[in-house]
């Protein structure tokens, strides 16, 4: 992943519209490094699949260019792009056995019969389906079909493997298991993976880097921890992880910090991430686990009055829903400690936080 060499894939100013009216992908600029696991994360309809399809060659960009290894893909038909793909519902050929499915890419590349058998078997072993080669896809469970699709996309050693919500149809437990398995396969083969999902925890688990899509635009491109710790705008803060929002107005900006007057008149110091000048509106973002609860007002800059609305016992922690500065849904996560009694509904207390845990971002409609 050396930043010095040219990226494997480069989207350059790519734009896409299907109907000439709505722009589904607007000005996409994205470099994908060789060997990395890059995830396109975003809500449904944000243009992730479209971007992937343009890379695979099933859709043409309306504008802009996509380069693979420095060469424009404009005139390369999909079957010559050497890009493996795993589809959401696997798209295993129902009339072929598992083995024939996996050998298909080798067969169309006119590999010898023995090589086909050999490599197909190895690929199936890799996804732990060694014994099931003679079955038909219809006789496999969803998870097994998923693995066959994976083996089939990897068997011809493509430069890139694209996966479009490949785990969407699996139940939670299997999905989490497959996430790790795909991650391990990626690590052991060193293949470049472009992965599409709308599930943020899946993206956080698996990726080297995540491109957060919304409205056909990449909102932020960062490592999982980067996205979680320092979201660049309210959308990302809201989409990744849990998040509390308080609206207010910027009073002054001092270096990286700013003073914000909340709607109920309280004033706090926040980290100025994405704010205009003094007087502009802003939305403050708090992670529930980065907020402290105190019985008495500390001599702290950042403490807000709070009233407990509800306490929810979660086993390893307690979630406390409170009313803070007019927000009824302010969630606080408190680690469960035996020496401390969780607050009861109706109790008045304070929440406090460090300025670095309170991000002033672009305003969202309340």
């Amino acid at each position: 992943m050396a930043g010095t060499q040219a990226p494997l894939v480069a989207f350059e100013g790519v734009q896409k519209t299907y109907d000439g009216e709505t722009i589904v992908v607007k000005d996409l600029n994205l470099d994908i490094e060789k060997g990395e696991f890059l995830t396109m994360l975003g809500p449904s309809g944000s243009g992730k699949t479209t971007s992937l399809m343009m890379l695979a060659g099933f859709e043409n960009p309306t504008h802009g260019d996509i380069r693979l290894g420095g060469r424009s893909l404009k005139d390369t038909p999909p079957h010559k792009r050497d890009i493996g793909m795993v589809f959401q519902n696997y798209a295993l050929f129902p009339h072929m056995t598992v083995e024939e499915n996996v050998a298909f890419p080798l067969k169309v590349r006119k590999a010898s019969k023995s090589e086909q058998v050999d490599r197909a078997r190895k690929a199936l072993d890799m996804v732990q389906l060694g014994g099931l080669g003679k079955r038909r896809p219809g006789q496999l469970s969803g998870g097994q079909q998923q693995r066959v699709a994976l083996a089939r996309a990897l068997v011809f050693e493509p430069q890139i493997v694209l996966m479009d919500e490949p785990l969407g149809a699996l139940d939670k437990q299997l999905r989490e298991h497959m996430q790790l398995e795909i991650k391990h396969i990626h690590e052991s083969l060193g293949v470049t993976v472009v992965y599409v999902t709308h599930d943020q925890s899946e993206a956080l688990t698996m990726s080297d880097r995540i491109a957060v899509f919304n409205d056909g635009i990449i909102q932020q491109l960062d490592s999982p921890s980067g996205l979680y710790e320092s979201p660049q705008n309210s959308f990302v803060a809201h989409f990744i992880g849990e998040n509390n929002i308080l609206n207010g107005t910027v009073e002054s900006i001092d270096g990286g910090e700013c003073a914000v007057r909340l709607e109920n008149g309280e004033r706090i110091i926040a980290q100025a991430v994405n704010v205009d000048g003094p007087g502009s509106r802003t939305s403050l973002s708090f992670r529930p686990e980065r907020v402290e609860i105190e019985d008495v007002e500390d001599h702290h800059d950042n403490a807000l009055k709070a009233r407990v609305a509800e306490t929810i016992y979660m086993g390893d922690h307690v979630r406390i829903r409170m009313n803070v500065a007019g927000n009824d849904d302010f969630m606080v996560k408190m680690r469960f400690r035996s020496n401390r009694r969780p607050p009861a509904a109706g109790e008045e207390m304070y929440v406090s936080f460090a300025p670095k845990d309170c991000l002033a971002l672009d305003p969202v409609a309340a």
Binding site: A56, G57, F58, P77, P78, H79, K80, R81, D82, I83, G84, M85, F87, N89, A91, F93, P94, H95, F104, P105, V108, R109, R152, A153, F156, L162
Partner: protein, 429 residues
């Protein structure tokens, strides 16, 4: 509480036994209750299908069984010439003319049947097998004396046909009650007087050709339907619904007019001064009109037109279920478009192709009206001859035998098809 203990100890060996018996009884009761419930369900199910079963039995199974029976059952002669059919047993050396008693029986039967006007039935039946039998039977009957010393010489004097062994072979073959005559005839074979099976004389051996022609026409029609129907079904399955619906109506349109009207329309269109010839000449494709009707071309055009929907509909319904993602997957795995089509798309359409193919083929085999109206003499299919024997000559035996051979041949073909493609792979929708 020692007394309690004693009581329970005394009761213990018995109680489990009682328990077990009760349990067994209960289980038996449960079983019978289940059986009763199941029986009710089965009775209800049977009640629901009974009308259809009865309908099928009466309209389908019985007629086919009757047809099969008629093709081997032969009592036309024995009904009216009972003495003859009994006496012919005495004819042992079949290389010689039969002995006098046989002649006497025939003479007596001829006189009796002439008197009660049933001789025509015997004459007709013998005429199927022996050419000219109708004439010499009627002629001889008219000229028979009341008594004769030797019926043999008397009859040979009246008509020399009575001096030929073949005449008696025909009588023997027609004596019933069962005969292989019609079935053998339907595949161009016959039995000699001595019981050997030989091929029929050339001018009579027509049926194998007609069967072959029937199957060739049906297969050609099926093939043309598949070639023309495949792209249409593909478009129907893949066009946006709005356009596809309009196209679907066009495909189904032929169903809305009667078969006869459609066939008659082709007569108008295809004749030498018809629309099709005019158009071909107008566009300069042809210099002079070609014959498009009363020949094989006309039969193919009209039959394909009528049967095309039967190919398109099952194909369409199967193609509708083939998601476009399969072609994408094949392409992304490195298959060029043609390879992807041949290896991934086409095999998935087999259930539709085979269902449509079978449907068109089976319907074609029984076609009658269309070839009769737009075909020439050499384009008539087997149904034409079956209809001829049932309605023109009232030769039920021959009509049934041809039908039976058609049925068996079709079933053999189906068996071969089943082996090659597998009927379980077939899907109508």
């Amino acid at each position: 509480m020692p007394s309690d203990l004693a009581l329970s100890q005394a009761a213990r060996p018995q109680q489990p036994q009682a328990d077990r018996a009760a349990e067994r009884a209960e289980r038996a009761q449960l079983k019978s209750r289940l059986r009763r419930a199941e029986r009710m369900k089965q009775l209800k199910a049977f009640g629901l299908i009974a009308p259809l079963l009865l309908f099928l039995l009466i309209t389908f199974v019985v007629p086919i069984a009757d047809m099969m029976l008629r093709s081997v059952h032969d009592t036309d002669l024995s009904e009216v010439w009972p003495r003859t059919t009994a006496a012919i047993e005495q004819w042992e050396d079949r290389t010689q003319l039969p002995p006098e008693p046989v002649y006497a029986a025939i003479a007596q039967d001829m006189k009796d049947s002439r008197a009660n006007r049933t001789i025509a039935q015997a004459a007709r039946r013998l005429n199927y097998d022996a050419n000219g039998a109708r004439t010499f039977v009627m002629g001889t009957a008219r000229r028979l004396p009341d008594t004769a010393e030797s019926w043999k010489s008397t009859m040979i004097d009246i008509d020399e046909a009575w001096g030929e062994i073949d005449t008696f072979g025909a009588i023997a073959r027609a004596s019933g009650p069962f005969t292989s005559f019609y079935l053998l005839n339907a595949i161009d074979l016959e039995k000699t007087a001595t019981g050997e099976i030989v091929s029929a004389p050339e001018q009579e051996a027509v049926y194998v050709d007609i069967f072959t022609r029937t199957f060739v026409i049906s297969m050609t029609v099926t093939l043309i339907c598949a070639l023309l129907g495949f792209p249409v079904a593909y478009l129907l399955a893949n066009l946006p619904p709005k356009i596809a619906n309009v196209m679907m109506i066009l495909v189904l349109l032929p169903f809305w007019t009667s078969l006869l009207v459609r066939t008659a329309a082709w007569v108008v269109l295809l004749q030498e001064q018809g629309l099709v010839n005019d158009a071909l000449i107008f566009t300069g494709i042809l210099d002079e009109p070609v014959r498009l009707i009363y020949n094989r071309i006309g039969v193919y055009i009209a039959m394909v037109h009528i049967l095309l929907p039967f190919m398109i509909l099952p194909l369409y319904s199967v193609m509708k279920g083939i998601k476009p993602v399969y072609m994408k997957a094949a392409t992304s795995l490195g298959a060029p478009p043609t390879t992807a089509f041949l290896r991934v798309y086409l095999p998935q359409t087999i259930p539709g192709l085979s269902a449509g193919g079978l449907l068109v083929f089976i319907i074609s085999i029984g076609y009658y009206i269309t070839p009769a109206l737009v075909g020439g003499a050499a384009d008539q299919m087997i149904s034409y001859f079956i209809a001829f024997y049932t309605s023109d000559t009232v030769n039920w035996g021959m009509a049934s035998a041809l039908g039976a051979v058609l049925l068996v041949a079709t079933m053999i073909l189906y068996g071969v098809y089943n082996r090659l493609i597998g009927a379980d792979k077939m899907r109508l929708g």
